[in-house]
């Protein structure tokens, strides 16, 4: 499964452009991942320990709990959209430049 030895992989990961891509991506992904996991687990934990809050009626018979559950969908979609937007704008371009550079170098 090893690929052609013509690409110097050590040089790729030592490349400042790769380091920058890696750093930006790592920070961005870790932050989003933590936000989404924490936000999700607030729902079942809140449902167990803050039942009085979930019962508060906000809009007609619709209570806080139901709105919070619906918000989960909006937040999940929001995170997906935000990540795609960022990846399409920055990460793809940086990755494409690196790939073009090293694939050309390898011939």
């Amino acid at each position: 499964m090893a690929s052609p030895p013509t690409i110097d992989w050590d040089a790729v990961i030592a490349d400042p452009r790769f380091q920058e891509l890696h750093r930006k991506k790592q920070t961005f992904l870790t932050t989003l991942m933590i936000i989404s996991v924490v936000f999700y687990f607030l729902l079942p934990i809140g449902a167990a320990y803050f039942q009085d809050l979930y019962r508060v009626k906000v809009w007609g018979v619709i209570n806080f709990g139901l709105l919070f559950a619906l918000t989960q969908f909006i937040v999940a979609w929001g995170i997906a959209y935000f990540y795609s937007w960022r990846a399409n704008r920055d990460f793809d371009r940086m990755a494409r430049e690196l790939a073009a550079h090293y694939e050309k170098k390898a011939g």
Binding site: M1, A2, S3, I7, W9, D10, V12, I13, F18, L21, H22, K25, L29, L32, M33, S36, V37, Y40, F41, L43, P44, I45, A47, A48, Y49, Q51, Y54, R55, K57, W59, G60, V61, I62, N63, G65, L66, A69, L70, Q72, F73, A76, W77, I79, A80, Y81, Y83, S84, A87, N88, D92, A95, L98, A99, Y102, E103
Partner: protein, 636 residues
């Protein structure tokens, strides 16, 4: 070659129709005089998918075509296919059912299934597309010892897929029987033959299109039902829910769920309680544990991972997850209306009377909205929803069988037995087809053997194994420099053994002593309940007496079951592992087994260093981040 395929597919189609129509039909949800309608809709859907399979069969020539449709699926197509692969009968019928029976908790349950895709999107889909080829073990084998990885990886793929498959086959058999009254065995065989026809001839190309068609049908069916449910309220959510909580059927259901505490509550309070948490989930830790299995397990499901190898680039993989999230999430929002709509129109008790798990909520709602059990349109809609449920099962099963077969043919036969890629393409495709038949036969056999078993927890177990074994291994091999062969082997073994082991000693397993005690309690309370129901039956209030009739039917069912249980477990005191009561109190092992799975990979990697794993790290890390050479890997 083409005529041969055509003949085979024609035979498979004819076989399914003959088996389905020639059998003794028991009573199902569809009335006998309208059963032809169901078969007509079935035949239409089967013909469409078979035609697609026929077209696909001509395009499947290499192993890459068979396993990953040659990497030629677009992001949008793959998004629909992921939705079709993921939305099993459990989510289509099960979640609507849970909402119709338990209100809020059922809806809360659906959230985790969507949030799971954030993990897939952020850390799994693109790196896997960049370095993988056909299967999950391919990713592990890139930098770690290939033989060891293919063996442990394939075993894990087969384990996870078999658990999932068993749940689908048994659940599907019961479902088809309940809907149209075909014998359980016949429906299992019909699902098996159809699925085999798709996978065997059309490989991933046909599987993908069957999943796309199924997902589109599912969304159309749900949209139609939701519009019909919601339209009378001018598409106002508060007005709709106001009517749901004001419904006496819903209020009675809440009262019976709450028991004694309900005595001091007004009808309005009871109805409102349906929109509040706590009617279904009793243990918050168990729920968090299940949530962990979903959120981390989806990213380790082999049949979902495999879908990312069918698109040409990481960008398309990303696009496909975003589309899948839109479709899956949108579908779960629709189930809110299906579930509450069924509770209001059909009533929780009437739904439970047909199927205790509430699975018939969606189909019965369709029948009601079309005009009821005696109308043509009502039965047409029921038939359509039933046929979609059937297509749902077949599409999910096809994806699972393909994943398991590729682990056997690509990883074990080509990778381990032949030690690599020296096997000629045609022989690889033949191996894949043979493995497909083996797995398909296994699925049918297990489906029939497991008749009557409670397999609902097997889906959760598949997610738990995927989250505890596959997910830590894939994540750490992609992102951690020191990860090594020893770590992956340790993680796979510890994660799988713990998830399965804890489940075997958990409350999911039957403990005869506990069951008998519960049955005895039902019998002891029977007389008092019967007196109360008879009083209600005698009352002049037609609504109360109608409800009492349903209660009476439920009570008779419960008593019957209690007597059956007592007879079934007479002289038996312990579970098959010799336990009187569960050793592990949670139904979901994730909260213990996921952290320990990660720990095993960490310790194993630190204890057993591997030169190859470390030497190939720069290559894996550079490729997974940049996609260098990804197009070459895909075109191989």
């Amino acid at each position: 070659m083409n005529t041969q395929y055509r003949r085979w597919i024609a035979w498979a189609l004819a076989g399914v129709l003959v088996i389905s129509s020639g059998t003794a039909l028991a009573q199902g949800a569809v009335a006998p005089e309208y059963r032809w309608l169901t078969f007509a809709v079935f035949a239409a859907i089967i013909s469409l998918t078979m035609y697609v399979t026929y077209l696909a069969a001509k395009r499947v020539k290499t192993a890459s075509d068979f396993y990953t449709a040659g990497g030629g699926i677009t992001g949008l197509q793959n998004g629909w296919a992921i939705a079709g692969d993921y939305l099993s009968a459990a989510s289509f019928l099960g979640i609507a059912g849970l909402i119709s029976q338990y209100g809020y908790d059922g809806f809360m349950y659906s959230v985790g299934w969507l949030v799971a895709y954030i993990t897939v999107l952020l850390v799994i889909a693109e790196p896997c597309r960049n370095i993988g080829r056909y299967t999950l073990p391919d990713i592990l084998a890139y930098r770690n010892d290939p033989k060891a990885m293919r063996i442990v990886g394939a075993l894990s793929v087969i384990t996870v897929s078999t658990f999932y498959l068993t749940a689908q086959m048994v659940g599907g058999g019961v479902l088809v029987k309940t809907l149209i009254g075909i014998d359980y065995e016949v429906s299992v065989i019909a699902v098996g033959i159809l699925m085999l026809a798709y996978v065997l001839f059309g490989g991933m190309v046909a599987t993908t299109w069957v999943q796309i068609i199924k997902a589109i049908l599912l969304v159309i069916a749900s949209l139609v039902l939701v519009v019909l449910v919601w339209l009378p309220y001018g598409f106002s959510l508060p007005a709709f829910l106001q009517d749901v909580v004001g419904d006496p059927k819903v209020q009675t259901r809440v009262a019976s769920l709450l028991g004694d505490p309900a005595r001091n509550m007004s009808a309005i309070e009871l109805g409102q309680r349906f929109l509040e948490p706590g009617l279904y989930f009793k243990s918050p830790i168990d729920q968090v544990s299940l949530g962990m299995a979903l959120v981390f397990g989806t990213a380790g499901l082999p049949h979902i991972l495999m879908r990312f190898f069918t698109v040409p680039t990481a960008q398309q993989a990303r696009k496909s997850v975003v589309w899948a999230m839109a479709i899956i999430g949108g579908f779960y929002v629709l189930t809110l209306f299906l579930g509450f709509g069924a509770a209001k129109h059909v009533g929780p008790a009437a739904i439970a009377a047909v199927d205790a798990g509430g699975n018939m909520a969606g189909p019965l709602l369709a029948q009601f909205l079309g005009g009821g059990p005696n109308s043509f349109l009502g039965n047409f809609m029921l038939a359509f929803v039933s046929a979609v449920a059937f297509a749902t099962i077949v599409a999910v099963v096809a994806g699972l069988v393909l994943a398991a077969a590729s682990a056997i043919a690509h990883d074990l036969y080509v990778g381990v037995y032949h030690g690599g890629d020296t096997v000629p393409p045609q022989q690889q495709v033949r191996a894949a087809r043979i493995a497909t038949v083996l797995v398909g036969a296994l699925a049918i056999t297990i489906g029939i053997a497991a008749k009557g078993q409670n397999v609902a927890h097997l889906v959760a177990l598949a997610f738990a194994v995927a989250a505890s074994a596959n997910f830590p291994c894939v994540l750490l091999t992609l992102y951690w420099k020191r990860c090594s062969t020893g770590g992956i082997v340790a993680g796979m073994i510890v994660g799988t053994v713990l998830a399965v082991g804890l489940t075997l000693v958990s409350p999911n397993v039957t403990y005869p002593k506990v069951v008998k005690a519960a049955a005895q309690k039902v019998l002891d309370g029977e007389a008092a309940k019967r007196t109360a129901i008879e009083a209600a039956l005698a009352s002049a209030d037609t609504l109360a007496s109608g409800q009492a009739k349903l209660d009476l039917a439920l009570l008779d069912k419960a008593v019957q079951k209690a007597n059956d249980d007592l007879a079934k477990f007479a002289g038996q005191e312990t579970s098959f592992l010799g336990l009187e009561k569960p050793l592990f109190q949670l139904k979901n092992p994730g909260i213990i087994s996921i952290p320990l799975g990660f720990l095993a990979v960490l310790l194993g990697s630190l204890l057993f260093r591997d030169k190859r794993s470390e030497a190939l790290w720069p290559e894996v890390y550079a490729r997974q981040n940049t996609g260098i050479l990804a197009s070459k890997a895909a075109s191989h």
